[in-house]
Amino acid sequence: MTAALSAKEIVSQLSARFPGAIEEAGLDSALVKSESLPAAAEYLKTAEGLKYEYLNYITAVDYYDYFEVVYMLTSLEYNRSVTFKVRCYSRDNPSVPSLTGLYQGADWQEREVYDLMGITFEGHPNLKRIFLWEGYNGYPLRKDWNR
Amino acid sequence: MSGGELIINTPLAMQVTPADWPGGYWWHWLFFTVAIIVFMLVMVIGAIYIERRAMGKMQSRIGPNRTGPFGLLQPVADAIKVLLKENIVPGTADKIVHFLAPIVAFTPVLMIFAVIPFQNGALLADLNIGILYVVAVSSIATVGVFMAGWGSGNKYSLLGAMRDIAAVVSYEIPLVLAIIGVVIVSGSLSMNEIVTSQDIPYILVQPLGFLLFFIAACAEINRSPFDLTEADSELTAGFHTEYSGMKFAMFYLVEYAEAMAMSAVITTLFLSGWRGPWLPPWLWFIIKTVIVFFVMVWTRTTLPRVRIDQLMGLAWKFVLPLALINLFITAIEVIFWPDVSQWFFVIVNIALAAILVILFSKLFKPGWGRVEV
């Protein structure tokens, strides 16, 4: 059974290493500050006993005040999964560091989030629209997008 | 061994008409020209029908059965449909090359039929270099294919045409070497004499030669499993992507006419042509040609396609050495034991063929793999 890491455990493990990185802990996911995202993700991927080498998905949700980018990682070795989120509060130019260096599977999923939600990923090698065509105006999946 | 010594010292002139032919030279020529054209068209229509029905049955489906009784008029319907289509020439095409390509591809196929005997002495031109003429002429069709690929102005067509050139060039040599085995045994290059000297069909006397000739012929005429020039899952339609209407009909015709021509050549060389009991000789010829064509359809339905480098690897590393070895063995047999009965050589050749094929297939590695980029 893939044990989903509960929020308390994530908080305890990450905040020991990265003090101040965790903002809140929801029910079964943790909220990570966007500056410490690459370091935290790298720690989760490479540390002994963690080894979260498999990226399940990256997606984004538009709560009207902020965007929330959701990540889920799985450790195939230890059969555990962890979900964490990053928030960006800016509406005009939301931006989050990219995880493409760590997980190559993040490449297209971040492009999808950029295409449909408009969130830029810093450090992404090829941030172009993926489903919609170049020159399309607007980000359809946002809540305030009117067709 | 029947056939005696190899005679190649008569001048390369066309044989005069047989003395008993009524009307003389021009009447003979006219009759046979018309007969060959009609024969070829009828056989192509039959070939298309056989292919579609047989392939359908092998794929556990029915095949065309609506047009006419048992779907017999399906090729006619295909022909009419193709002829009524608009003739589109792409803007970037090289107009003259694009126009001439079907003609250059089609004419040599008709010319092959000029030396195929339908009955004893019944052929348009009983050349005493018959089989050499066949080999020479059949290569010209490739020029037509390349003209089609280039003249279309389309990268897919060019890729397809390039593959075709590579395939044809690679398989010319084994084709000719397999033929030379037959020529040595029969003692003559003339097609009619090759048939008359086959008391035992050469498929038994030259089993390895037959196998190699069949493979090389399938590769030359781009039949599956070597149909990568028109691989429709890769290149849309290869060199004839940009053709429509009558020109496409020509290419379609060329494909089946070449298959029929090669089947006829195989029948003449290896299956003792028109010889057979009870039935009239031309009927035997047709039956045998259809059987060979059916075997081609069979391999087409059963086998997946090879890749271009595997195709060339097969030619140079498998078929060519075997053809050379076959030539050696045949020459040794003919020179050293000319008086031994042919049945002895049948057994020896079949055993040697089996051993060599198994040995080579173990040693042979098809194609090369990934290229470092």
Partner: protein
């Protein structure tokens, strides 16, 4: 004058556009392939031609009304989409599914897996050039599964069968006997197809060692399903993270080490056999009882979020649903297998030839409906 240096031919790479309409790209998928002759240097996939905005559409429909939308994602295996979505909503709303419904879901999901693999293997062999023969044979089995599904819910391809809290209709009386009759037939046929294809020289030459995906690369890209298992990753959600009643059945997870096209083909064949085992066991164990929990047609799950994933035929198919206690999902994201599996294509094809590119693409088994959503 030849020197000891190798003579290198100066070549120029060109870009070939395998456009959205192509006989072998499964769906509307476009690739710009940089070629050096026949060797693929790089590809640039371009898709979005089938983007229908399903994630946005789901925000405007009720939870039950989204189920037909989910069918259209991976249209080659519609039952698994329904399954995953219903699992996610049930997790969100804390809805318990009756036993009978769980068993029915497992039977339909496994039959759908068999049907999907029939299509995947057939299409891959079609791309390899076997002009449809294995495709037709395998499609016959898929048709029989269509007949079973038609008996069940009246639809053949896009079912809209599962509901939140169970399934929409109970099994008709003749369904289970028909499935029991179908299982040994299918077993016999799978053995027959394996016999035809497993040792086929040309298939081995085309597919073995071609398009290797290493284990590390597969993990890094997030590949799942038969593609991952062929590369050596022993990960199957039915065993590692069991959902529904999968922990009650005995079955194996076929895994192979090389990660080439041949291994992917073999993994799919073996998975079909394992799915048959599951169907056999579940058919014996189906209990009576209700087939659906009574929930409202228009349900309002409590506010929150949930992620549920299943082992679909192509890999991990998951739904991340956020609810704000209204009648429609606030946000639902589809973790689409094909999009993530397609990400690895670029690394897999560098250095291979055009023919291999098509074969590798066919072996990953992509449905564009899922990629583009």
């Amino acid at each position: 004058m030849t020197t000891t240096q190798e003579l290198t031919l100066k070549t120029e790479p060109f870009v070939l556009n395998m456009g959205p309409l192509h006989p072998s790209t499964h769906g509307v998928y476009r690739m710009r392939v940089t070629l050096d002759g026949e060797v693929v240097l790089d590809i640039e996939p371009i898709f979005g031609y089938l983007h229908r905005g399903i994630e946005k559409l789901m925000e405007e429909r009720t939870y039950t009304g989204c189920i037909p939308l989910t069918d259209r994602l991976d249209y080659a295996s519609a039952m698994s989409n329904n399954f995953s979505y219903c699992l996610a909503v049930e997790k969100l709303g804390g809805i318990k599914v009756p036993e009978r419904a769980e068993y029915i879901r497992v039977i339909t999901a496994e039959l759908q897996r068999i049907a999907n693999h029939c299509l995947a293997i057939g299409a891959m062999l079609n791309d390899a050039g076997a002009l449809g023969t294995p495709f037709f044979y395998l499609w016959r089995q898929r048709e029989k599964i269509y007949d079973l599904f038609e008996m069940l819910c009246g639809q053949r391809v896009l079912y809209n069968y599962m509901r939140i809290g169970g399934v929409s209709q109970d099994l008709p009386d003749e369904f289970l006997p028909a499935v029991k009759k179908f299982i040994p037939q299918l077993r016999h046929f799978i053995d027959e197809y394996e016999f035809f294809l497993k040792q086929n020289e040309i298939l081995i030459a085309r597919a073995k060692g071609v398009g290797i995906l290493s284990k590390e690369l597969a993990t890094n890209y997030g590949i799942s399903g038969p593609v991952a298992r062929a590369s050596g990753i022993r990960w199957d959600l039915r065993k590692n993270d069991p959902y529904s009643v999968y922990d009650r059945f005995e079955f194996d997870i076929p895994t192979r080490e090389n990660g080439d096209c041949y291994d992917r083909y073999r993994v799919r064949m073996e998975e079909m056999k394992q799915s048959l085992r599951i169907v056999e066991q579940s058919v014996k164990q189906v209990p009576g009882g209700p087939f659906r929990t009574e929930v409202n047609q228009v349900i309002r799950p409590p506010a929150g979020e949930a992620y549920a994933h299943i082992e679909g035929p192509k890999g991990e198919l998951g739904y991340y649903i956020v609810s704000d206690n209204s009648i429609a999902p606030y946000r639902s994201h589809i973790r689409s297998t094909s999009l993530i599996n397609l990400g690895a294509l670029r690394q897999m094809v560098k250095g291979w030839k055009v023919a291999d590119l098509i074969l590798i693409f066919g072996s990953i088994d992509i449905t564009m409906g899922e990629v583009d959503r």
